[in-house]
Amino acid sequence: MTASVVLSRREWLLSDRPASRLQARLGRAYVAWRRFSANRLALVGMLIIVALLVVAAFADVLAPYSPTVGDLKNARLLPPGAAHWFGTDDLGRDIYSRVVYGARWTLYVVILVAIIAAPIGLLVGTIAGYAGGWTDTILMRITDIFLAFPKLVLALAFVAALGPGIENAVLAIAITSWPPYARIARAETLTVRNSDYIKAVQLMGASPFRIVLRHIMPLCISSLIIRVTLDMAGIILTAAGLGFLGLGAQPPLPEWGAMIASGRRFILDQWWVAAAPGAAILIVSLGFNLLGDGLRDALDPRSGDQ
Amino acid sequence: MSDTLLEVDDLRVTFPTRTGLVQAVRGVSFSLRRERLGIVGESGSGKSQTGRAIMGVTPPQAEVSAKKLAFDGMDLLSMSPRERRALRGSRIAMILQDPKYSLDPVMTIGRQIVETLRTHEKVSKAEARERALAMLQAVQIRDPARVFDLYPHEVSGGMGQRAMIAMMLVTGPELMIADEPTSALDVTVQLDVLKILDKLVAERGMGLIFISHDLRLVSSFCDRVVVMYAGKVVEQIKASELRDAQHPYTRGLLNCMPRIGFERHPLPVLDRKPEWAA
């Protein structure tokens, strides 16, 4: 009984002749999900990111100690053990608790960078692609110039001028990471610009603004999401690098890069101070990379299914 | 030496995919003497994979099996890869559809011809060049020395396909598999290329398997025709007797051919019945 219901639901999703827009959309999503979930590594990546979200959300519950106030008298530089799973740092703070709270700052950075950089890229790319001509040439020249810069070094210089701090680090990374999004959005725009349905919308008298916003931008979203996901690892690494150089998050914020920097002084004797936050960065970056790869394979029909 | 050049019995080509096994070729049988055999079918009928399976150049994931697949009395499937490779390009050759893609874009035409020759015969560089030039001449390229040093993108499609024929015939093979050799060419040069192929096949007494979707072309060019549908042979018939073909699918293909002076409305639609594929 239940089996037949499940089967028919599956058939409904996979139908060649969807009866409604909703059914078609759900069917497409279902097919994409099947392709995605067949990829075990992508599932691992998703699991890591879900874990990151959970840890960030429930940091207060998961962390046994305060991330900023340590026990200077009794708990300085303790090796990993039952009381302190990842050991303690030079200020007697529990490293496990700091890593847990650090998840929040990592999320803070990647989300803010994505929110700032992706729309800039989307706007620049769709306008360049739809307008064409000189607008296109100038916008793309600027994009190319930014693409030709070394990202980390430029971010360094920006933060040097803006002053150290996690907000400025976010700003600097966002400023250096929008160009690829503009490229992608432009490429997508060019493929649909001359299509018949855009012509039809034009004939109906839609303004260029409306066409770009309602009919072109939505089509760029899926490739943009893939690219942003794939870039997340790079963003995390850059933010951590800035933190490591003392330019990103400032003490006592439990940001992973800054934690490695503070552990550097004791690295030869108390290696665990730097080890745990670095491993956290590695795992989360890996998660985003795996998820991004999986999304690309599932959503991008061009990437073949052999 | 037996009269039969190639014997194919119950040839099957299977591809594993995410949704299970897909049989591209499902039990094809025919035999070939030094004659011209046409294989006709729609795209997806398995005609190309049949050619590639005989050649031994199916993709690595493909599974090829047959009750018998013998070339000149030798069992192709039980051969070592090395022995099979020694046959390819020397005794069995293949022409692909589009010279734009089937010639290596970063190697000059001359070097590609010489490469075939020197893979199979111990000849000096100078002699290989000589024979490659002669071969280019044989496919009626007027200025062989010039074309020898050109890259594939520098020549036209017709010229490229002649170079391809030269590359495959330079070793003097006995069996030629031509997989849609003219479909990618301009209509005006199709005939030229076909004439060259025709002449070389006749002169050298080769066996030819001519794979095409174009029944009229095949019927005018070949001695016998094998009609394939969904991986199976539905009919084998002499080209001269094609008008009396029995199978409805072959009749359907025949009816699709436009004839001058006849009204074409409504356009005939090819009939496909699942039981033919069963």
Binding site: A274, L286 | V106
Partner: protein
């Protein structure tokens, strides 16, 4: 050769020359605008963002007289566009101002430290290419096999690991525990005073002078940072080569090559890789540019006295001239490599010669 053939050859030659010239012209235009863009951004960073650029350059402890002089020198009383003009003029002369930290002109500092970075990045790229190319090729040829999986994991970790952290762990293991390598620096202290570099690339200099003890010492210092950068480069190169090779191996000319009876080895290395060679050169060049940038963090970890360490030291001392000078230096080389690889692409691919 007949006359006609000669003419044809000459005609092709000149067409090719025109194509090369026009791509050189395009190349120059792009190089100039990109470089101007770089200067505009650094100008923006140095002059527009800070509330008081003089303070940003000198720090807040400078005497008033110096502040006033610098203000005039920087032309801060002029309109921005004129300031930018002067800035570009100075930059083209190689004048990036004076470093507060070292009291030298920034340009001479950069000249001093750059060879160390180039040496490190070059060795890293060599390691990355020598291992990455065959790894990528094998992964593509034996798709789905164990080696493909290994290459994939190695690559993914390379894309995901914070290099400075891996460097620190490497120091713990290879320096502190195993004592296989030397402490973070470029040479042992003994040699710092006795060794006279010629080119600034110590490995090369030591080899030229036949000082093999110095060579060995320099090797013990460079091997870990170079291996780390090599790993980053390997991750990138092997992944790109794999996808190029998969693309090539799916082409029809590979089927044709099989039909010709060529050996798999010849098909893979002689045809597929030859076709992938053009993008491969680009990828290796880009990887080199990335390593220049990656050296900022690596040099900090390994106290490697190159441009990266110079920039970070200057950052910590709010030495804005040095930071921007260093940024422009890395940026210039980065741009040059980018454009060079683009040009190389055009020259190497026969399809773009006449097209």
């Amino acid at each position: 050769m007949s006359v006609a053939e000669n003419q044809a050859a000459a005609g092709r030659g000149s067409a090719r020359a025109v194509a090369i010239l026009s791509s050189l012209g395009r190349f120059l235009v792009i190089a100039v605008t990109t470089y101007l863009g770089l200067l505009a951004v650094t100008f923006f960073i140095g002059r527009v963002i800070p509330i008081d650029p003089v303070l940003a350059v000198l720090g807040d402890r400078a005497p008033t007289a110096v502040v006033e002089r610098t203000r005039r020198e920087m032309g801060l009383d002029l309109p921005w566009i004129e300031q930018f003009y002067l800035y570009v003029k100075a930059a083209l002369r190689g004048d990036f101002g004076t470093s507060v930290l070292t009291t030298n002109p920034v340009m001479s500092d950069i000249r001093r430290v750059f060879p160390a970075t180039i040496e490190l990045a070059t060795l890293g790229t060599i390691i990355g290419a020598v291992i990455g190319v065959p790894l990528g090729v094998l992964a593509a040829v034996k798709r789905g096999s164990l080696i493909d999986q290994v290459a994939r994991i190695v690559g993914l970790i390379g894309y995901s690991v914070p290099i400075f952290w891996l460097g620190l762990l490497g120091l713990v293991l290879f320096y502190a525990k195993l004592q296989w390598i030397a402490f973070p620096a470029r040479l042992d202290v003994v040699y710092e005073y006795t060794f006279t570099p010629i080119t600034g690339f110590y490995l090369l200099d030591a080899a030229i002078q036949g000082q093999w003890d110095v060579f060995y010492d320099a090797w013990r210092h460079i091997v870990l940072p170079a291996a780390l950068l090599g790993y980053l480069s390997l991750a990138y190169i092997s992944r790109m080569i794999r996808s190029f090779m998969l693309n090539e191996l799916a082409q029809e000319y590979i089927v044709a090559a099989r039909a010709k009876g060529l050996s798999e080895r010849r098909i893979i290395w002689g045809h597929a890789l030859r076709n992938a060679a053009v993008p491969m050169v680009t990828v290796i060049a880009l990887s080199y540019a990335n390593l220049l940038e990656g050296s900022v963090l690596t040099e900090t970890v390994f106290s490697w006295p190159g441009i990266g360490l110079y920039i970070t030291n200057s950052l910590q001392n709010a030495d804005m001239n040095a930071v921007l000078g260093g940024t422009i230096a890395i940026g210039s080389v980065f741009i040059a490599i980018n454009l060079f690889s683009d040009l190389l692409y055009r020259l190497l691919d026969p399809r773009t010669k006449t097209g």
